[in-house]
């Protein structure tokens, strides 16, 4: 069959190659892979619901480092949150806006600095190998920018959450932030990655986060996407877990023109526990895709996944959750649930909850629903004097409430809820 794969060269040709010498080999491998790998289109199974065609229509450029803090950036976007802070604009760390944690056993600095200091040696520069396998990963690696490096030594607890605020501004920009989190054994931290952009911003955010959660350690990660403008947001997170560790992640898409989240978690030690939760409420013609892979490779682990979405207007949603249970992973307990409400004619959801199981002594289940707000419940609320709008708001809050409740801090959950309320006019 004739290969109609669009050529991608024109799209990335004008971008600045990654400038970090510590990432040179990764960037080179990425560039080589870009020549080799086809651009994901509708014909590729993993991308059939989220082809990149629209993004490729416009060549992008690599934005310069900003001078100072742009006016429309609120360095602290969450009222009342007491947190350490790293601010990035277009993939560049804005040092004057940062408040890095400084404490015994806490190593936190810009990623490029960590590379220069030799903290990520040789093969350690990239953990996932995504840059050689996946076009999006290769695109990132070839143009990788700065980000956050956070390392906690054994037994250390980060006393306040770390807020990583990434802001995008400018036209047709290509931004590739790259983060690394290394949790020593028995350490503990809460990290909040907040993505914003100015309302005129256009282009691509291709964000990578790699993490390792050591033995008995605990990492909570809240990711909030609240990008205005026309941003194509491609996120890929790769996290491995050692024995008895806990990793919790919340992927909350408040706003985004076109979003693809890839979340890959692998449990490498017994007794690990993973929580993956997410919410998406796209409107207008927005597109939100959540691809998750939960890889159970060893015995006695658990995972719990819950994604909820409401699709408004002519928006589209995708949920593809894969649960792998390898042959050795006996006594796995894996649970996955995806619930969707298609709110308007013209909106659609494509869901693909997958179980791939090679061990027998396991308890695995998944469920997926597509439906509406319950008319009976709406009538019940109205019969108590609650108006249509308020009743619907209550129902929405009830629908996503269990996901919000599990977030790292009440302040962040409240801010997400407030932003959603304002955006969808519930108040």
């Amino acid at each position: 069959m004739a290969d109609t794969t669009p050529t991608s060269k024109a799209f990335w040709e004008g971008l600045t190659p990654s400038v970090s010498s510590g990432l040179a080999s990764v960037a080179e491998a990425g560039r080589a892979a870009l020549d080799r790998l086809p651009v994901p289109t509708r014909r590729s199974e993993r991308w059939k619901y989220s082809p990149l065609t629209a993004m490729l229509a416009q060549p992008l450029n690599s934005p310069e480092a900003p001078h100072g803090i742009p006016e429309d950036v609120h360095v602290q976007p969450i009222p009342g949150l007491d947190a350490y802070r790293v601010v990035l604009v277009n993939g560049h760390v804005v040092t004057e806006a940062c408040d890095f944690p400084v404490a015994e056993g806490v190593i936190c600095m810009p990623l490029f600095q960590a590379l220069d200091e030799g903290r990520l040696q040789g093969g350690d520069a990239d953990w996932s190998g995504y840059h050689e396998r996946e076009w999006v990963g290769a695109l990132h690696a070839a143009h990788a920018q700065d980000g956050v490096y956070l390392e906690l030594e054994e037994g250390v607890t980060l006393d306040r959450p770390l807020l990583v605020h990434h802001h995008v501004t400018g036209s047709n920009v290509a931004v590739c932030p790259r983060h690394r989190i290394v949790m020593g054994d028995q350490s503990s931290a809460e990290v909040l990655v907040w993505h914003s952009s100015s309302s005129e911003a256009t282009g691509m955010v291709n964000a990578l986060l790699e993490g390792h959660v050591g033995r008995g350690a605990r990492l909570g990660l809240d990711k909030v996407q609240n990008e205005q403008g026309k941003i194509f947001h491609l996120a890929h997170e790769h996290v491995t877990q050692a024995s008895d560790s806990t990793f919790r992640v919340h992927s909350m898409t408040v706003q985004g023109h076109w979003v693809r989240n890839e979340l890959n978690v692998a449990q490498k030690g017994r007794g690990a526990h993973t929580i993956m939760h997410g919410v998406y409420l796209p409107k207008d013609q927005e597109h939100v895709d959540n691809h998750t892979t939960m890889d159970h490779t060893v015995p006695n682990c658990t995972s719990s996944e819950l994604y909820k979405g409401i699709l408004y207007d002519r928006s589209t949603g995708v949920f593809n959750g894969k649960v792998f249970v390898r042959q050795e992973a006996q006594q796995t307990n894996a649970y996955q649930q995806n619930a969707n409400i298609v709110a308007d004619q013209g909106a659609s959801i494509n869901a693909k909850p997958e179980l791939e199981i090679y061990a027998d002594d396991v308890k695995c289940s998944h469920g997926c629903t597509v439906g509406q707000f319950d008319d009976e419940a709406l009538f019940y609320l109205k019969s108590r004097g609650i108006g249509e709008r308020a009743a619907r708001a209550l129902m929405v809050q009830a629908f996503i409430g269990d996901v919000l409740a599990g977030m790292g801090s009440e302040e962040v959950a409240a801010e997400v809820e407030t932003l959603l309320s304002e955006r969808h006019g519930w108040m």
Binding site: A377, F379, K382, S383, G385, G387
Partner: protein
């Protein structure tokens, strides 16, 4: 309080109410009895404003306003309360948030300020004790995981919170054991007062031993075919509903 004239209503093109007349004065308790399928629950749904029910003829005046002209939430804010036969479970919506939203909707409607958290909690404490639900509503979603009896008690609790002018109890006795029936009836009786009317819909007479009505009506084939005092309920209990149908002309 409530004046129903020649009310006709249908569901999915099937006529269910076929010319119903009823007049309830302030402070009165009326009971409507009737066999299954006679239209009892349809009447409750039509009065509360359920959308699937289409009124094809007739009028309903509620305390001087045209009831049929209002949507379900306006009717509630004007003081009409329906205790559901099958209260729906609403996972994720907490009982207290739900009641607070309802009370504030009513207060806003009356030009009052929103209730303070302190007053609200005091009110919850007082009213939940009435139906022996004190302390059991917090942290639970609306009707979720409630037993049949608890759901009915929650309905009465909500009625007590909202203090309606007219309360319609739709088969509130169905599925209740004798204790729950006693609690529910006590709750209702405690609320009886001069300005408040009740419409009690039931299949069985036993509820009327606890909530003694001023008037009893028999509904059959979408119309009220007989009206009387509490004695009528006793008669129905003895003779069954067939007795009503025969001398109907």
């Amino acid at each position: 309080m409530l004046t129903i004239k020649n009310l006709h209503a249908q569901v999915d093109q099937t006529a269910i109410l076929k010319g119903l007349d009823l007049e309830i004065a302030p402070g009165e308790v009326h009971a409507i009895m009737g066999p299954n399928g006679s239209g009892k629950s349809t009447l409750a749904s039509v009065l509360a404003g359920r959308e699937d029910y289409e009124v094809t003829q007739g009028s309903v005046d509620f305390d001087g306003s045209d009831l049929l002209d209002m949507d379900a939430s306006d009717r509630a804010r004007e003081g009409l309360f329906l205790a559901f036969q099958y209260p729906v479970e609403i996972p994720g919506v907490s009982n207290l948030n739900f009641m607070k939203a309802a009370i504030n909707a009513q207060r806003e409607h009356r030009g009052m300020e929103a209730i303070s958290a302190k007053d609200f909690l005091a009110l919850v404490k007082e009213k939940s004790a009435l139906v022996e639900l004190a302390g059991r509503l917090r942290d639970r979603s609306v009707n979720e995981g409630f037993s049949g009896g608890e759901k009915k008690r929650n309905e009465i609790f909500q009625m007590a919170m909202l203090e309606p002018k007219l309360a319609i109890l739709d088969e509130t006795d169905s599925g209740l054991d004798i204790d729950a029936l006693r609690i529910v009836s006590q709750g209702v009786n405690a609320m009886r007062e001069a300005g408040r009317s009740f419409l009690v819909i039931t299949h069985y007479q036993r509820l009327l031993d606890h909530i003694v009505p001023d008037h009893v009506h028999v509904l059959s084939d979408g119309k009220i075919v007989k009206s009387g005092t509490k004695d009528l309920a006793m008669e129905l209990e003895e003779k069954g509903y067939d007795w009503i149908k025969e001398p109907a002309v």
